[in-house]
Every structure is written in C-alpha cells, then in structure tokens.
C-alpha cells in the first residue's frame, strides 16, 4: 500500500462486440449486444425537448448513409465509483478518470437530429456512409452504430429563426441540441449497463506514474479544444466563439478519456470533437503507449483561442508556461480547425520552440484549390507538421439504398440517397485533428 496522495489510475474494461441485434430484452452475452428497441426509445423520448426518438442498428458494409449526424458516443458505464457517468451532464460534476469503467468496443451511439429554426446551418451538414468508396473516410463507418434519431417539437419547428448568437443559435435551438446530445449519452450508459457484473475481454490501465525509465524526454500534449462540454460546462477558454478567452488549463488525461469531455457544438463534421474521439483520444492513447518506452508523458494542457490580439498573446504565453512548468522538453500540439484557432495554435508552437521545447503539430489542411498551400496561418517554427488530410478535397458519394437522419441535405441539392459530390468536410471525423485516422495530404 503506497502512502501519500492517490494518483488518478483508470482501468477501462473492454467488452468486444461482434454484433448488435434487436431483441426482447437488452443484454450483453458472448459478444452479442441485444437491444430492446422499444424500451430504449421510451427512455429517450421522455425528454420534453424531443418530440420523438427512434432507434436503429446499422453495420459496416450495409448500404446506408447517415445524415444530420450530431455526435457519436462509445457505450460506457462507470463501475467504480458508480454514478459518475458523463460527469456534469448525466450527474453532478464528479471526479472521473479514476477507478474502473466498462466500455462496449466496436460500437457507437450516433445521434441524428433534424435541423431546426434559429440554428446555425453553415456547419451542420454531417454525413457518413457505411459502405462504398466513401466509407473509408469516417471512423464511424467501421463501427456497428446504434443510431438515435431525434425529432424536434412542433413549437420549436415553428419558432423564431433569428439567432442573436450566430454560432450557437437561439436558446431554444441550443436546448434542443443539448437534449439530442443527452439522448446519446443516456443511450450509451443504458447499453453499457448490460456489462455490469461481467468480466471484460481485457483491461487497459491508464496511469501517469513517473516514468520507470530515467532520462526519457518529457512530453506534454497541448490540446486545442473546439468548445465541447467539460463536466457539463462549455470548456474553459471558449474563445472567439463562446465568449471571453480563459487561460489554458492543465488537466489529467484520464479525465478526458473517462467522459469528462463531451461534444458540445456542431463544428464542421470533419473536425467535430465527437465524444467518441475524446473517449478514444488517439494522441493521448499513443502518448500513454509510449510512456516509459521512449517518452515521459507528463499530461495535457487544454486551450482554445483568444478573440483579440491581447487574448491570444496572453493565452499563448500561458500555455507555454504551463507546459514548461510540467517539465516539457517536447510537445505535441493539435489545431482544432477554423480561422482564429490556427493563429493561437501557431503562436503556441512559436513560443514553445523559442523557449527550447521541441514541437510537432497535427493539422488538417484547407485547400479549396489543389494549388493552394491550404494554410490559414503559419509560423516558421512549425517545421514538423503531421497532416490529417485536406478537408476541402471533393469526394464522390455513391448512391445508397437507405438514408437515416432526414430526407434532405442542407447545403446539397437533390436526393440524399443519390450520387453527389461534396468536400470531405461534411464527413464525420474524416480529417480529425487527433490523428486517429490514416488519411494525410501529400504533394504530387
């Protein structure tokens, strides 16, 4: 028994799911997740902000296109301490990132929701295909998805279409989008409950213990957020979009892996911070995997972006201060996408490099024309960039047998089940900033 403060040590018990089926009773056995669809729909429809909720199961290889997708969530339940699932949203804010959590692997709950008045439309187009040539782009295309389709109330559909905040929308539209997300989280917890009392296929332990090997270079991850919910609140430093920029925040990576951070905003689909991508955060997972091998992982600094020059300078200096205080000799930085955030991420890169911290950056490319560089902003110090793909590249969507999530696309004319061309930007998590996928841009 060690003395002194207790570190946050998280065990994620993984249950591999080979199939998901509709059945009389919701249960998990022998790799098969069975769902009582009626019971789940009843549970989710209880929210007064939603008129109706329907649930269906789709699998890789099926000729299905999901449109109007909002978020994706891996089914999870906290085993120890119990009752802290999606802390801050399904419970009061609690300590997470410690103890034990069960996860259903190979499955996601995906919410779809019809657009409503008073909502920003510009970024809302969010699509993925389960089969065909476009199925290579979204990580969701490889999962068995339990799709939760939400319908707005008549009142909301007939409400005012003039948001005072063009990024978030009217209070009614914000409330609806939050209800949709809560439905996804509730469904995720409901499905994972089936594992209680069972032994997982494996347990992954996340422990930021001091590196057992001396002399490894200390690495900090500087995580630029695209404004999700942290413990149920808009995350610190909401920046140009959410209001005044807060200072960057150091955070234990286990909290992020354990449901503290939930998608809170309909960012452009390719860069949307899906709850699933945070629960399975590729950068954090890889840093943990290398901890004690060839690096000494020291933790995470969250930051977003300032909306003024002064706020950016303050934020960029403070982020570098925190990383250096944590002992960083090296830093991985991700850029969250968009105009303002590019400046802040690059300023942090410059500050760190000038203060002797080696950096690499993950960045999506934004070249509408293949002859463009695709940069919004850059500094000469950013000489080690991993490209997570150009989201402006046009892809051809092939016809599909079935569409879930609505009858029409917002910015693309024609039948959504038909063939159309669109930028990769509309595909969920296609050029995602955590580098969890294999796509990249190359010069030719």
């Amino acid at each position: 028994m060690s003395s002194g403060p207790h570190r946050q040590i998280l065990d994620i018990g993984a249950f591999d799911v080979s199939d998901v089926r509709a059945g009389a009773e919701t249960a998990f056995a022998d790799g098969i997740l069975t769902i009582d669809i009626g019971e789940l729909e009843e549970l989710l429809s209880a929210d007064p902000d939603l008129a109706a909720v329907s649930v269906e199961i789709i699998r890789p290889g099926e000729s299905v296109r999901v449109i109007n997708a909002i978020d994706a969530v891996e089914p999870r339940i906290k085993v120890d301490p119990p009752g802290s699932d999606f802390s801050g949203l399904l419970t009061v804010p609690k300590l997470v990132g410690t103890g034990s959590t069960h996860a259903l692997k190979g499955v996601a709950v995906v919410e779809t929701a019809l657009p409503v008045p008073g909502e920003p439309r510009y970024w809302r187009e969010a699509v993925f295909d389960m089969a065909g040539s476009t199925a290579v782009y979204s990580p969701l295309s490889e999962l068995i998805n339990v799709v939760v389709s939400c319908e707005p109330t008549t009142e909301l559909l007939e409400s005012e279409d003039r948001p005072s905040n063009v990024f978030e929308g009217t209070p009614e539209a914000v409330e609806y989008n939050k209800a949709v997300r809560l439905a996804g989280l509730k469904a995720a917890r409901y499905l994972a409950e089936t594992t209680l009392g069972q032994q997982p296929d494996r347990v992954d332990t996340y422990d930021l213990a001091p590196s057992p090997v001396n002399g490894l270079p200390a690495v900090v991850y500087l995580y630029q957020l695209a404004i999700p919910f942290l413990h149920g609140e808009i995350a610190p430093g909401a920046g140009a979009i959410g209001g005044a920029a807060h200072l960057p925040t150091p955070i234990h990576p286990n909290e992020l892996l354990d449901g503290a951070l939930v998608c809170g905003w309909n960012a452009i689909a390719c860069m949307r911070e899906l709850t699933y991508t945070v629960q399975n955060h590729a950068i954090i997972e890889d840093l943990y995997a290398r901890h004690g091998e060839d690096i000494d992982f020291r933790g995470v600094v969250l930051f977003t972006n300032g909306d003024t020059r002064a706020a950016k300078e303050r934020l960029a200096n403070h982020a570098a201060n925190l990383a250096i205080m944590m002992g960083a000799e090296g830093a991985v930085i991700n850029y969250a996408g968009g105009g303002h955030p590019a400046v802040d991420a690059m300023m942090i890169c410059r500050n760190l490099e000038r203060r002797g911290v080696t950096t690499t950056m993950l960045s999506m490319e934004m070249a509408a024309n293949p002859g463009e560089s695709g940069f919004v902003h850059f500094v000469q110090e950013a000489d080690a960039i991993v490209s997570t793909g150009n989201y402006e590249e046009t892809v051809l969507f092939e016809p599909v047998e079935r569409v879930i999530g609505g009858d029409e696309l917002i910015r693309i004319e024609g039948d959504p089940s038909g063939a159309f061309e669109a930028p990769l930007a509309i595909v969920m998590a296609s050029t995602h900033q955590f580098g969890g996928t294999h796509i990249r841009g190359e010069e030719y």
């Binding site: 293949p370 463009e372 850059f378 080690a384 294999h438 796509i439 841009g441 190359e442």
Partner: protein, 346 residues
Amino acid sequence: MARIVHYVNQFFGGLGGEDQAGMAPVSEPGPVGTGRGLTRFLEGDDRIVGTVVGGDNYMAQGGSGAVDEVVGLISRFDPDVVVAGPAFGSGRYGLACGSVCRAVTEHLGVPAITGLHPDSPAAAEYRAWVPVLATAETAAGMTAALERLAHLASKLGRGESLGDAAAEGTLTKGLRRNTFEDLRGSTRAIDMLVAKMRGESFATEWPLPSYEPAEASEPIASGAPFRLALVTEAGMVPAGNPDRLPSGWATDWLRYPIHDRVGFAEGEFESVHGGIDTSFANQDPDRQVPLDAARTMEHEGRLSLHPELLSTTGNMGTLRDMSRIGAEMGRALIADGVQAAIVGST
C-alpha cells in the same frame, strides 16, 4: 520514332542576343541551336523535325496571341512531343517555355516538356500544368539537362506517362491531394517528435509555403514627372460587372478605360470583392482607387496617368494565380512605359 518539335528563344536559337529579343516567332526545319545538342542524346529513331524560335520580349509582351503564333508554327510540324528550352532560371524565356508547353498540351493534345530551375518564376507558374525537368540555375547545366530531356521526350513521344517526380528528376506539380498512411496521424506525430528531439532527420508532412520576398523598386526621382497606373485587387468594375469578374478565386484580371474620368462617381463603379464589406467602396469608389486625387495631381503637372484601371479580385485568390496576375499586370504596365503603380488593396 517520335517526331520532336523544339522551342527555343532567339539566343539559344542562335539568332541574336537582347537586340533580337523583339523578334516574332519563326520556324525552321530540323534542329537549331540548343536542338543540335539535344539531338546527340535522342533515343532510337527520335528526331527533331522542326524548331520554333521566339524573341524573349515578343513573347513576354505578346500575351496569349504570341503563344498562339508559336503553337500554330509548331502544329505544322505535326509533332508527337514538344520540348521547350531548357530555360534554367531565366525569367522571360522560362515563362515562354511554360506557356508554350501548356498551350501545346491544351490546344494540340500533344505532350510537352520543359526544363527549369525549381526556383524560377516559370516553375512556380507552370509546374501544375506541364512536366518540368528540374535543371541547374544556369546554362552550365546544359548537357545534363539535354540528356534527361531527350530521355523524357522519348517516353512522352511514345505515349507513355512519366513516373514519380523524384525518379524522373522532374518537379512535382506542387499540388496537394489526400492519401492514406499505414500509421495513424497521432503515432506519426509522436514518431516525428521523438526524431526531432533526438536530432534525427524528419520530414514535415506539410511544408510551409515560401514567399519570394518582393523587392521594392528604386524611388522615382523627386520632382520629375512620371507615369502612374492605378491597380486594384478590390474587384472594382463598372456597375453591373459586365465582364463577370468573380467575387473570389479570380484567375484573371481586367482593364477598364479611365482616361475620360476625373473620378469615380457612386453607381458607376462598384466593388464585387466577396471578402469585405464593400459598402464604403461603393459609396465612394475613389476611396478604394484614388482616381480623383491622381487626376488632380496630373492637372498639376506632377504625373501622367495611365489610361486604364487594372482590376482583379484578391479575395480567396491562390498564391499561384495572384503571382501570375501580378506578373502579367507588371509586364503590361512596363510595356506601356509606366514607372509607378498604386495598388488599392482591401
């Protein structure tokens, strides 16, 4: 056997130096000048069936008409492939080689190749459109360049496509596309970080753009009258935008007569720029392009004003297109004897 037509300038065609730079294109059967050297390296039965020689200034100032003349002369030789240059790092000659190759490809459907130094203006402008052999900066690299060009021309003449840029010694197109890696991005980022921290070699996956520093011209001698042009990237056009200048992603530029105007009245000219609030420019276009002030100074005898406004839209313009447009505008103004320009930016 591949029928090769060769394009060279007056100097490499042996027809003279700068004194002959204004010469209109001429053609001759068989190899001329540089072409004789190229012939030594030709493969199999390949041969140069004809040569077209164009003057540097004629091509630089003649625009697409001059290029069309060259293409017309080339087509008479019925080529399987066209070789232009090599022009190494030269400005006018390189641009002529690039524009001729591009026009040959597009209008005749015949493959074409040139040889340029990677940092030359023509390389930046034409690498996306035509294969470009990477050469030395000066003609000191002539022999090596001709040997490679002969080989690549032979391949193109047989209807084969060129291989990977690195293997062929050609420039990449400088374009970007998506591809897939074995390792996911997060793993690659940590690998790159570890290599960088250890001082080992690493390659960024997204090279930073490099901008050529623009050199400021010498100031105009104070007091001496000079010829001034008004230029803008604000998308200033006659009301109604008769030539349909786009509000963004422009790839061309326009000239509008202003010799009969003392200024721009509201409603006569407008800005079609899609990236700014144009209401101020539209209320008083002179505040976007200072014609009224320039005309006043002209009346005072301090300058003479070029009779046309040169206009494009800078919004969302690519570096490639805007560099070319800037170079084209500059050449046109220099040809018209202009010494200074005011670029009303946004």
